[in-house]
């Protein structure tokens, strides 16, 4: 039975391959995206685990280094608290690369992480200043003297007291860390008395959840409190869009897989019609025959799933290693590859169900094959079936578009996702429902073709089911491509728009290259005066970026030096009110911050800082792409004093004309070059270009989806045309015999494909424009990125012809093949 099915699958390998590809694609896409998601969350989760497994509650300062020993004592005094472990986990620069400095004392032994080892504690507590224990990413053989830098401490030489070799250490930030005792770490960072977080272990009298709420209540916002895993929660803003992508990419590709399998089986039934009729005559029930098709498809699906799962894992692996630096730098955690194993059985099963279902639906046609057909002549059989009206499908499509409009009204994320799906389904339904009109239109045009109008008409009239399949797939493909193209273009445009003021900046000295999140590294404040003294340049502004915790979310805090600054968040704000940030407790916030924390212009909110709570008034809200969770900007002075962080993240420079610009730039580079860690000296315009380039890179995933969708589309067209030619082989042979040129037959294939593609593409484009509109608002509310919706006409101009070309490319082989059919075939029966 299975052997028969395998043999049959092999005999119809083209259709089988197409079905397998469909399933493989769907499985691969879902596994990739799911693994990406799990790698991201898992790595961060593991980071917390390695650091502090066994802790019930984590208390995180409102800013890095924002927890004091006093706070630790206070927490220790709270009911239900057993042990409090303060820890330093700060980003520093070692040998020019971002590294995590871990500071612990003997209290860490209450936990079960990488650093909770007596030996380690003993070693670090006896370390003299200037010596650190190194993580396994640092080669033991390497030079024992290293460059160490932070803004507060400046440059220091440190030396290695040894390398930690335990296996688990590799998975903590990829082994890129240094360890010392808490006190030495504090001295190194110039953060006396401070820690980055407190890990709290309960005394067992209450649940972790209850403990977290007690601590939270008592601290009243002076620090963020959560059950461990707070970092995972914080990354969810970044991970949510990936989840959306899983949902969309997965369901779209499963739908396409379903269509492909349906197509393959329906065509298989058509091809084997006589064979099936014979089997019916000799006593096979149509149920048995249907089951054989379903079995065949399920084998194909299993094959596809295995292929897809492997491809998905490989793709995820590659993607994880190429994650945009933006993500990696923002959380200071190395993202390792952690495959989402669960997604493999799940998607394989889903693929199997879809394969069997669509095979079953397609194989239903077997029931209308009567045994009598075995004895009828070949000509009549294939056309005996009445061309059913597909208008009900069109009606269902329209209905689903109407539903989409209703769902879109609710403006919730999930209703938005449903609306997008409904638009896709609607376009599929309509395309399939009205595909006969495309054919009618093409026929009307075909009669004007010199010489071959009847030939073309003959082909078009036989094509209802085939064109319905092609039109559906092309319509859906176009909807997806137009949507993703619009999103990608909007994203890049938005990024440029939000950074526009920077383009006017002649020279920028920055801690981060344009494609990273702002770094926690800072330049010394003295740099602003020292750079100003260099010949040929004047400092026009500077600012600081700090990640702070606001209501348990990691948001970006920015200080702006003064009115001449071109820092986008300040420069884009309303000129009549923006200067209030220099004079009073006022802030400019990003649209995402406003959206996330429900803050309006003119309203006030409280910022918890190490220096106490500050009530700030919102003077303006501007779009900013700097950080998805939101940005708050005030004067540099306030930023530095509120969060007790001296130093600046960037310095803005202008040329004063006293020396040639080249020489001035060279001088600046020479000055900053002594630091030993990366400093970026670029024009503002170049920095914006880099950011835009990084955004384009980030949209590569969308582009890849587009490519896959178009390839699948071409394959469907190819399959449909090949099977059409297979069925109509004798007709084409006849045409050759009675004097039709080979080109005529080829022409009919192309006319049909062009007509159907153009019709479906126009429909799909309409759906795509709408889906783009819907998706951009979902993307915005999910990611917090203020993606401005703008309808992209240029994209349409490119995509529609591209689709027609791709589809015709899919028809090229069939057209070539049909031209090869010779007149001799008209003489034989089969």
């Amino acid at each position: 039975m299975i052997l028969d099915a395998l043999r049959s699958a092999w005999r119809h390998r083209f259709g089988s391959a197409l079905g397998a590809i469909g399933i493989a694609l769907a499985v691969a896409l879902t596994v990739t995206v799911a693994s990406l998601h799990s790698s991201l969350l898992g790595s961060i989760d593991r980071f917390s685990d390695q650091l502090a497994q066994g802790a019930d509650v984590e208390v995180l300062g409102n800013v890095d280094g924002g927890v004091t020993e006093e706070l630790a004592r206070e927490v220790l005094g709270m009911e239900g608290v057993g042990v409090v472990v303060p820890m330093l986990t700060s980003q520093v620069i070692v040998d020019g690369e971002r590294t995590i400095l871990v500071g612990v004392d003997e209290r860490v032994l209450a936990l079960k992480g990488v650093f909770s080892s007596e030996l380690l504690v003993r070693v670090v507590s006896n370390l003299e200043d200037g010596r650190l224990l190194f993580g396994p990413a640092f080669d033991a053989e390497m030079a024992t003297v290293h460059e160490f830098y932070t803004a507060a401490s400046g440059h220091q030489e440190i030396s290695s007291a040894g390398v930690i070799e335990v296996a688990e250490a590799r998975s903590f930030n990829g082994g890129r860390f240094v360890v010392t005792n808490l006190e030495a770490g504090r001295r190194l960072l110039h953060l006396p008395d401070r820690a980055d977080s407190l890990f709290v272990v309960g005394d067992g009298s209450r649940s972790a959840h209850a403990l977290a709420s007690t601590v939270k209540e008592k601290l009243g916002g002076r620090a963020a409190v959560a059950q461990t895993g707070i970092r995972v929660d914080q990354v969810s803003a970044v991970a949510d869009p990936i989840r959306l992508a899983i949902l969309l990419a997965g369901s779209a590709s499963f739908a396409i897989a379903g269509v492909l399998i349906f197509d393959a089986v329906a065509i298989g039934v058509e091809r084997r019609r006589r064979e099936l009729a014979v089997l019916r005559t000799i006593g096979a029930t149509s149920r048995q025959l249907m089951l054989s098709f379903m079995l065949e498809s399920s084998l194909v699906a299993i094959f596809g799933a295995v292929l897809g799962a492997s491809a998905g894992l490989i793709m995820a692996r590659i993607t994880v290693s190429q994650l945009p630096p933006f993500l990696v730098s923002a959380f200071g955690v190395e993202i390792g590859f952690l495959p989402a194993w669960w997604s493999i059985p799940l998607t394989s099963l889903l693929g199997l169900v879809i394969a069997v279902t669509s095979a079953g639906i397609a194989a239903r046609r077997i029931t209308i094959i009567s045994p009598a057909e075995a004895v009828r002549s070949a000509d009549v059989s294939s056309l005996s079936e009445k061309q059913k009206s597909r208008l009900f499908l069109g009606g269902a499509g329209v209905l689903s578009l109407v539903l989409a409009a209703l769902f879109a009204l609710f403006e919730e994320e999930w209703t938005g996702v449903i609306a997008v799906m409904l638009v896709i389904i609607g376009i599929a339904g309509i395309a399939s429902g009205v595909s006969s009109w495309f054919v009618a239109g093409a026929t009307a045009l075909a009669v004007r073709l010199p010489r071959i109008w009847l030939v073309t008409e003959a082909a078009l009239r036989s094509s209802h089911r085939r064109t319905a399949v092609c039109a559906t797939v092309i319509g859906v493909a176009l909807t997806l491509v137009v949507m993703t193209d619009g999103l990608a273009r909007n994203q890049v445009e938005t990024m440029r728009a939000t950074l526009e003021p920077l383009t006017k900046l002649p020279l920028l000295v920055d801690t981060s290259s344009g494609d990273e999140a702002p770094a926690n590294v800072l330049f010394p404040d003295s740099w602003t005066t020292e750079l100003d003294e260099l010949a040929g340049v004047t400092v026009t502004g500077s600012g600081q970026f700090t990640f702070v915790i606001h209501k348990n979310d990691r948001v970006l805090f920015q200080g702006v030096s003064g009115p001449t600054s071109l820092a986008p968040v300040y420069a884009l704000a309303d000129t009549s009110v923006r200067d209030r940030i220099f004079d009073e407790n006022a802030v400019i916030i990003s649209t995402q911050f406003a959206d996330r924390f429900h803050v309006r212009e003119g309203s006030s909110f409280v910022l918890r800082t190490p220096s106490g709570p500050h009530t700030v008034e919102v003077v303006d809200i501007v779009p900013s792409a700097s950080w998805p969770n939101g940005l708050v900007a005030t004067s540099l002075e306030r930023a530095q004093s509120w969060y007790a962080r001296p130093g600046v993240s960037f310095i803005e420079l202008a040329f004063d004309g006293t020396v040639p610009e080249d020489a001035a730039v060279a001088a600046v580079k020479e000055f900053t070059g002594q630091t030993g860690f990366p400093v970026y000296v670029v024009s503002g315009a170049l920095q914006v270009d880099r950011t835009a380039a990084a955004t384009v890179q980030a949209t590569a995933a969308l582009r890849a989806i587009e490519l896959v969708v178009l390839i699948v589309m071409a394959l469907v067209v190819l399959n449909a045309q090949v099977s059409m030619i297979w069925q109509r082989r004798r007709e084409f042979a006849l045409l050759r015999a009675i004097g039709g040129r080979p080109g005529y037959a080829a022409m009919t294939v192309l006319v049909e494909v062009a007509a159907v593609t153009l019709g479906a593409a126009l429909l799909g484009a309409i759906g795509g424009v709408w889906a783009h509109r819907l998706a951009s608002s979902i993307a915005e509310s999910l990611s917090g990125f203020p993606v401005f919706y703008k309808w992209e006409f240029a994209g349409l101009f490119l995509i529609i012809p591209l689709t027609v070309v791709v589809a015709c490319a899919g028809a090229a082989f069939p057209a070539y093949w049909v031209a090869k059919i010779r007149g001799v075939d008209a003489f034989s029966e089969e």
């Binding site: 109008w453 009239r461 006849l734 008209a826 003489f827």
Partner: protein, 243 residues
């Protein structure tokens, strides 16, 4: 029944002979290869087919009858030898020229009718005209006239699936005749029909020769069909024998 003409002499006077010959084959060989086997479908076949004659080709299965028709129609190229149809050496024509030649000078009738199932009867008949660039209105008028001649005036708008076997074959004959070809090649035209319907099809083909001055070469297995012909040639193993 006439005997097989001596074709050897024709080679010397092709122009003179071609005038009243619809088709002439000289030393035609055709071998098919199937894996290691070689099948000699036609062996040194030399034949003359007179204009305005009805020639029946008979013989056992696999004798090369269909191959002969294909070679005559310029659908298969012989491995060697000369094929002249209507005074033209079709071996000298390019593939494209032979296609146009077939379109204008030959008519085909098949055992399995080979109608395009999506086209109506008149449209099927009109196909050869449209291949030659005829306009719709012209093609329709001529096709309907042709169907009328075949006694199918009432069936013009029907699709093949709504026609009987005999009606389908008569439609196919109408299609073969519409471009007024000099030579009609029919491969077992009655093979799929009952004897009564077969007879009416044979009558039609006979009329083509008698009333319209055409030439018919018909492959058949039926003795009755062969009787309608002016001359019968029996093929055995790729060699024509006088019947």
């Amino acid at each position: 029944m006439k005997s097989v003409d001596d074709a050897a002499s024709i080679g010397k006077f092709p122009a003179a002979v071609a005038v009243n010959m619809a088709a002439v084959l000289i030393d035609v060989n055709k071998t098919f290869r199937r894996g290691r086997d070689e099948v000699n479908a036609l062996r040194n076949v030399s034949l003359q087919i007179h204009s305005r004659s009805f020639v029946a080709i008979t013989g056992p299965s696999g004798a090369g009858k269909t191959t002969l028709l294909q070679v005559l129609g310029g659908i298969e190229r012989p491995d060697s030898g000369k094929v002249c149809v209507g005074g033209k050496d079709i071996g000298e024509l390019s593939e494209a020229e032979r296609t146009v030649f077939r379109r204008r000078n030959l008519g085909f009738v098949f055992q399995f009718f080979n109608l395009l199932p999506t086209l109506t009867a008149w449209e099927n008949v009109a196909v050869p005209l449209t291949l030659d660039g005829a306009r719709r209105s012209v093609a329709r008028t001529r096709a309907k006239e042709m169907l009328d001649l075949m006694g199918l005036a009432k069936r013009a708008e029907h699709h093949p699936r709504e026609l009987s076997g005999g009606e389908m074959q008569r439609t196919a004959i109408a299609r073969a005749l519409i471009s007024e070809p000099a030579l009609i090649l029919a491969d077992e035209p009655t093979g799929n029909l009952d004897s009564e319907t077969g007879r009416s099809v044979l009558r039609l083909l006979r009329q083509v020769v008698d009333d319209r001055g055409g030439t018919v070469v018909m492959v058949t297995h039926s003795l009755e069909a062969a009787d309608v012909a002016d001359r019968s040639i029996r093929f055995v193993d790729g060699v024509p024998l006088p019947a």
